[in-house]
C-alpha cells in the first residue's frame, strides 16, 4: 500500500515537471538564467495564479517566446518587464512596483502589525498599573 502511494506521488511529480515543454537555445549561461528568472516572475494573465513558467496556456507559451526573443536580442530584464507591464499592467508582475496604487499591498501588513503592537503594549502597560495598585492596596490593608 505504501509503495502504491509512493508510485502515485512519483507519477504526479513527473506531470508537474513536464509543465514547460519547449526548450530554447541561448548564447550563454547568463541568458538562460535570466530567461528562467524572468518567466518565473511573470504571472500568466489567463490562468491567474500561475507564472508563465508554470502555465500551459497558449498565451503563456507566446509570452515565453517573446521573453526568449528579447533576451537573445540583448534586452535587459527591466526592459522586458516594462514591455509586459505596458500590455498587461502591474498584474503580470509577481513583484509589483512600490507606487501609490500598490501602497496598501506593501504597507498593510506593517500597519496591521503596528496596530497589534500598540494594542498589546497598551494592555500590558495597564495591567502592570493595576497590579501595582492592588499590591499597594494590599500593603495598605496590612498596615492598617
Amino acid at each position: 500500500m505504501k509503495k502504491l502511494i509512493l508510485i502515485i506521488c512519483a507519477l504526479m511529480m513527473a506531470q508537474l515537471a513536464q509543465a514547460v515543454i519547449e526548450t530554447y537555445d541561448f548564447d550563454s549561461e547568463e541568458q538562460e538564467q535570466l530567461y528562467y528568472e524572468i518567466i518565473n516572475e511573470l504571472r500568466c494573465p489567463k490562468c491567474q495564479n500561475q507564472t508563465i513558467a508554470d502555465s500551459d496556456a497558449p498565451l503563456s507559451r507566446d509570452l515565453r517566446f517573446i521573453v526568449q526573443q528579447k533576451i537573445k536580442a540583448g534586452e535587459s530584464k527591466r526592459q522586458i518587464l516594462a514591455y509586459m507591464q505596458e500590455r498587461y499592467g502591474d498584474f503580470v508582475l509577481y513583484d509589483p512596483p512600490l507606487q501609490p496604487a500598490n501602497y496598501i499591498l506593501w504597507f498593510s501588513p506593517l500597519i496591521i502589525f503596528l496596530v497589534i503592537l500598540a494594542v498589546v503594549v497598551a494592555r500590558v502597560g495597564r495591567r502592570k498599573v493595576t497590579l501595582e495598585d492592588e499590591s499597594n492596596r494590599a500593603d495598605k490593608e496590612k498596615g492598617e
Binding site: K46, P58, R87
Partner: protein
C-alpha cells in the same frame, strides 16, 4: 468604564459589518477581469494581412475615421461562437463599424466560419502570430475594444457581447464617442 466596554464589544460587530459590505460589493466583480493598459492610447501600430486576402495588408491608416468596435475572435474560442450571431445582428441593425481581429487562427477555418455564420465585419485582420493581440494586451477572446475616430481606445470589454452587454455597456459608450448615434434604440 461602561462606555469603554461598549466600544470594545462593538469592535467585532463593526469589523463584521464592514466585511459584509465589502464582500457584498465584491460579489459582482469578476476577479479574472483585468483592466486594460491601452485605455486612452492609440491602437498599437500594426501591419497585418487581410483575412480574406493574404496578399493585401492593413495598417492603422485603414481604420475608420469614426468610432468603431475592434472585436478579437478565433474559431478555437468557444465563447466567440456564442457571440457571433449577436455581432451579425448588431452589424445589420446599427451603423457602428465592427472590425474583426482574427487572433491566432487558421485562415481556412476562419473563412469557413464567416461563410457559415455570416460576416459582421467591415474588414478582417489576420493576426496569425498573435503579435497585435499581445500589443493590445489580449488575454482571453472574445475581447472588444471601443475605439474613437482618431484611433484612441476608450474601453475594453472582455467576454461575450449579448443583448444585455450591448444595451448597458457597448451602446451607451459608443453614443458618448459618437453623438450621431444618440437616436439609436436598444437591441431587443
Amino acid at each position: 468604564m461602561a462606555n469603554k466596554k461598549v466600544i470594545i464589544t462593538s469592535i467585532p460587530i463593526v469589523i463584521f459589518t464592514a466585511l459584509v459590505v465589502v464582500f457584498w460589493f465584491s460579489l459582482g466583480n469578476d476577479p479574472t477581469e483585468l483592466p486594460s493598459q491601452r485605455i486612452g492610447k492609440e491602437v498599437p501600430e500594426f501591419r497585418l494581412s487581410n483575412l480574406h486576402n493574404a496578399e493585401e495588408f492593413f495598417t492603422n491608416q485603414d481604420l475608420p475615421n469614426k468610432p468603431f468596435l475592434l472585436n478579437v475572435w478565433a474559431t478555437w474560442c468557444v465563447s466567440c461562437h456564442v457571440e457571433h450571431p449577436y455581432l451579425v445582428r448588431f452589424a445589420n441593425q446599427y451603423p457602428i463599424p465592427i472590425i474583426g481581429l482574427n487572433y491566432k487562427d487558421e485562415r481556412v477555418d476562419a473563412l469557413k466560419y464567416l461563410q457559415k455564420g455570416g460576416d459582421p465585419y467591415l474588414f478582417s485582420i489576420a493576426d496569425e502570430q498573435g503579435t497585435m493581440g499581445i500589443d493590445l494586451g489580449v488575454y482571453g477572446a472574445p475581447e472588444t475594444f471601443l475605439v474613437d475616430g482618431n484611433g484612441v481606445i476608450h474601453h475594453r470589454y472582455v467576454g461575450v457581447i449579448d443583448n444585455r452587454v450591448w444595451n448597458t455597456i457597448i451602446l451607451p459608450k459608443m453614443k458618448e464617442l459618437d453623438p450621431n448615434l444618440e437616436q439609436l434604440e436598444a437591441a431587443e
